[in-house]
C-alpha cells in the first residue's frame, strides 16, 4: 500500500510538471536563441524522448538514490534538498515543542473546570487565533519584533545558518517557528481539551477520586494518556501539513528551506528540482502519518487489536 501510493506520487509529480507549459531550454538559452541550438540542448538533456521513457530514466535513477542534476543551476538535486531539509526539520521541531509545551498544560487547566473563567478566556483566545492565517501572523510578528523592537536577524532575508552562528540562527528561526507553533497550538489545545473533558467524566476517574488521589496525579496518570489518541492523529496530519505548507513563512522571510526552494524551482521551470522536492515532501508526509499511527497504537492498544 505504502509503496503503491509512493509510486503514484512519483508519476503524479513527473507528469504534472511535464504536462505544463514552460520550457527549460528557453530559461537556459534565453528566448531569442535559434531552434537548432534548442534542439541540440533538448537532446543533451534527454527532453526529446517520449515522456514515458523520460519517466523510466528518472525513476530508475531515483531508486538508485540519484535524483539527478538540475538543468538550470547544474548542481545535484540531492545537494539542494540536503541543504534545505534540516531547516524545515529544525523549524518543525522548535514549533512542535513550543506548541505542545503550551497546549498540554492549558488544555488541562481548561478541562479541570470547563466553562470556568480561565477556560472561557483560553477557548475564546484559541478560537480567535484559529482565524488568523500564518501570513498575517508572520507580518504582525515582523512588524512588532523586527521593526518596532529591532531584534536582530528577525526581519525578512536575514537568515543565519546554524553552522555559522547558532544564536543568530535561533533568532532568525524564532519568528517562523513561533508562527507555526501558534497555528499548531490552537489545534492541539482544542482537541486535547475536549477529549480531556470527556475522559474526566468516566467512572474510573470518579473511582480514582474517591480513593483520594490528588487531582494533579489523576490528570497526568489517569486521564492524560487515554485522551491523547485524537491528539496524536491530529499532530500527524498537522506536522505533515507543515512540511508541505510551511513554504509561505519561509517565502516571506526568505528562509531557504524546502518550501522556499520549491517555489524558486517552479519559478525557473527547474523540473528535476521540483520533482525531487515533491517526492521528498510526499514521502515525508506519508512517513510522518505512519509514525503517528504507530504511536496511536502504543497509546491505545485496543486500536491495533480491532
Amino acid at each position: 500500500m505504502l509503496i503503491g501510493v509512493v509510486f503514484v506520487i512519483t508519476v503524479g509529480a513527473f507528469y504534472l510538471i511535464h504536462l505544463l507549459p514552460g520550457d527549460p531550454a528557453a530559461v537556459i538559452l534565453g528566448t531569442g536563441d535559434s531552434p537548432a541550438n534548442r534542439a541540440k540542448l533538448y537532446r543533451q538533456l534527454g527532453l526529446n524522448k517520449p515522456i514515458i521513457e523520460q519517466y523510466f530514466v528518472w525513476i530508475k535513477n531515483v531508486i538508485r538514490g540519484n535524483l539527478g542534476t538540475s538543468f538550470i543551476s547544474e548542481t545535484s538535486v540531492w545537494s539542494t534538498i540536503k541543504a534545505a531539509l534540516p531547516i524545515d526539520v529544525e523549524m518543525i521541531i522548535i514549533s512542535q515543542i513550543l506548541a505542545f509545551a503550551f497546549a498540554i498544560p492549558t488544555a488541562m487547566r481548561s478541562a479541570r473546570k470547563p466553562d470556568g473563567i480561565l477556560d472561557r478566556i483560553l477557548s475564546a483566545g484559541s478560537f480567535t487565533l484559529l482565524s488568523v492565517p500564518s501570513f498575517v501572523l508572520i507580518v504582525v510578528l515582523v512588524l512588532v519584533v523586527a521593526i518596532k523592537l529591532g531584534v536582530p536577524h528577525t526581519g525578512p532575508s536575514s537568515y543565519v545558518s546554524l553552522s555559522a552562528d547558532w544564536i543568530g540562527n535561533l533568532e532568525s528561526m524564532a519568528l517562523p517557528s513561533i508562527t507555526l507553533a501558534i497555528g499548531s497550538y490552537v489545534v492541539y489545545y482544542r482537541v486535547l481539551r475536549s477529549d480531556l473533558i470527556a475522559t474526566l467524566q468516566e467512572e474510573y476517574i470518579t473511582m480514582a477520586r474517591s480513593k483520594g488521589i490528588s487531582s494533579r496525579r489523576i490528570m497526568w496518570r489517569h486521564a492524560f494518556r487515554p485522551s491523547t489518541v485524537a491528539l496524536l492523529g491530529t499532530a500527524g496530519v498537522n506536522i505533515g501539513g507543515l512540511l508541505a505548507g510551511g513554504f509561505i513563512v519561509q517565502f516571506i522571510l526568505a528562509i531557504p528551506g524546502l518550501g522556499y526552494q520549491l517555489i524558486a524551482a517552479i519559478g525557473r521551470s527547474d523540473y528535476l528540482v521540483v520533482q525531487g522536492i515533491v517526492l521528498v515532501v510526499s514521502v515525508g508526509v506519508i512517513l510522518i502519518n505512519f509514525a503517528f499511527d504507530f504511536a496511536t497504537n502504543l497509546v491505545d492498544p485496543r486500536i491495533s487489536r480491532e
Binding site: S131, F135, I147
Partner: protein, 294 residues
C-alpha cells in the same frame, strides 16, 4: 421487523433528529457573524453602486495617509483609498471561495453520497482514486499548475482550487453518508419500497446536509486563506486589481513606513474568517457534529 421495539426505536431516533434542535438557540453572536458575512457579500456584489472612491485611482496628494473622514481607512503608498480597495478586494476572496466550493461540492458531494450508498466496486474504485489524489500534496499541485498556466485569471484559480477540493469533499461526505446509510430509518424506507433516488434525497441528504454545510464553511475559510498565500507567491489575480491577499503582500514593502497598509486588510480577512469559523462552530454544536469528523 414485527418487533414492537423496532418501531419505538424508530420514533425515538426520529425525535432525536428533529425535535430538540429547533428549541436550542443559536445566540446573538451567531447572528452577528451571519450579519457580518452577509454585509461582506452584499458589499462585494454592490461595490460598483456604492459611493466609493475608485480603488485604482492614484491620488498623489495623499500618499500613505492615516485614517480620515475622506479616506476612512487612509490611503496606500500610491494614494489609493484603502477602504474602497478592501471592499473591492473582498470580491476576489468571495468569488474564488464560492466558485471553488461550487465545483468541489458539485462533483465531490454527489459522488461521495452515491459511493457510500451503493458500496461495492463503484465505491472501491472511486475511493482508491480519491485516496491517491489526497496523498499528493494539493497545495503544491495548485501552486505548480497556477504558476505555469498563464495568463492568469480568476476563473483558472477557481477551477484549480475547485478540483483540488473534490477529493476532500468526497471523503467527508462519503464518511457522513456511510454513518447513516445502514441506520434503521434507511432500512425501513427500503423495506417500504422507496426508490434509491428517494432514499438519497429524502432520507440521507437531510442528515448529511448539516455536516456538508459545516464543512462548506471550513472550506470557504480555507480558500480565503489560500488566496492570501497565493498572493504572496504572485499567483493571485494580477495587480493592480485589489484582493485581500494582494493588499497584505504589497504592504510588506512599506511595513516600516505605513503599518496600516498591513493591518487593515489583515483585519478584514481575519474578521471574515472569524465569523465563518464561529458560524461553523455554532452549527456543529447545534447539530452535535464532532470536529474531528471534518
Amino acid at each position: 421487523m414485527s418487533n414492537p421495539n423496532f418501531l419505538n426505536e424508530l420514533v425515538e431516533e426520529a425525535s432525536v433528529h428533529t425535535q430538540p434542535l429547533r428549541k436550542r438557540r443559536l445566540g446573538f453572536l451567531f447572528w452577528l457573524c451571519v450579519g457580518w458575512i452577509a454585509l461582506n457579500i452584499l458589499g462585494a456584489i454592490f461595490a460598483n453602486l456604492l459611493p466609493l472612491i475608485n480603488p485604482l485611482f492614484q491620488n498623489y496628494n495623499v500618499v500613505n495617509a492615516g485614517p480620515s473622514l475622506h479616506h476612512l481607512l487612509g490611503t496606500d503608498d500610491l494614494g489609493r483609498d484603502i477602504f474602497s480597495r478592501i471592499v473591492f478586494g473582498s470580491r476576489v476572496s468571495i468569488e474564488v471561495s464560492l466558485g471553488a466550493m461550487l465545483i468541489g461540492f458539485g462533483i465531490g458531494a454527489p459522488l461521495g453520497m452515491l459511493a457510500a450508498y451503493r458500496r461495492g466496486t463503484f465505491d472501491a474504485v472511486l475511493s482508491t482514486v480519491m485516496y491517491v489524489f489526497l496523498a499528493f500534496p494539493a497545495i503544491i499541485a495548485t501552486i505548480a499548475v497556477l504558476s505555469f498556466w498563464t495568463p492568469r485569471s480568476l476563473l483558472k484559480i477557481i477551477v484549480v482550487v475547485g478540483i483540488a477540493a473534490i477529493p476532500l469533499v468526497y471523503r467527508v461526505i462519503r464518511g457522513a453518508t456511510l454513518n447513516f446509510a445502514t441506520r434503521d430509518f434507511v432500512v425501513a424506507a427500503k423495506v417500504q419500497g422507496a426508490t434509491d433516488r428517494r432514499i438519497l434525497m429524502k432520507e440521507l441528504l437531510p442528515n448529511v446536509a448539516p455536516i456538508g454545510v459545516s464543512f462548506l464553511l471550513v472550506g470557504i475559510a480555507t480558500v480565503v486563506t489560500l488566496e492570501g498565500a497565493l498572493a504572496f507567491l504572485g499567483l493571485s489575480v494580477n495587480p493592480p486589481t485589489p484582493s485581500w491577499g494582494n493588499m497584505i503582500n504589497e504592504s510588506l514593502a512599506n511595513l516600516q513606513v505605513n503599518p496600516w497598509l498591513a493591518i487593515f486588510p489583515s483585519a478584514a480577512m481575519c474578521l471574515f474568517l472569524l465569523s465563518l469559523n464561529f458560524i461553523g462552530d455554532r452549527l456543529r454544536s447545534h447539530y452535535d457534529i464532532s470536529e474531528i469528523k471534518l
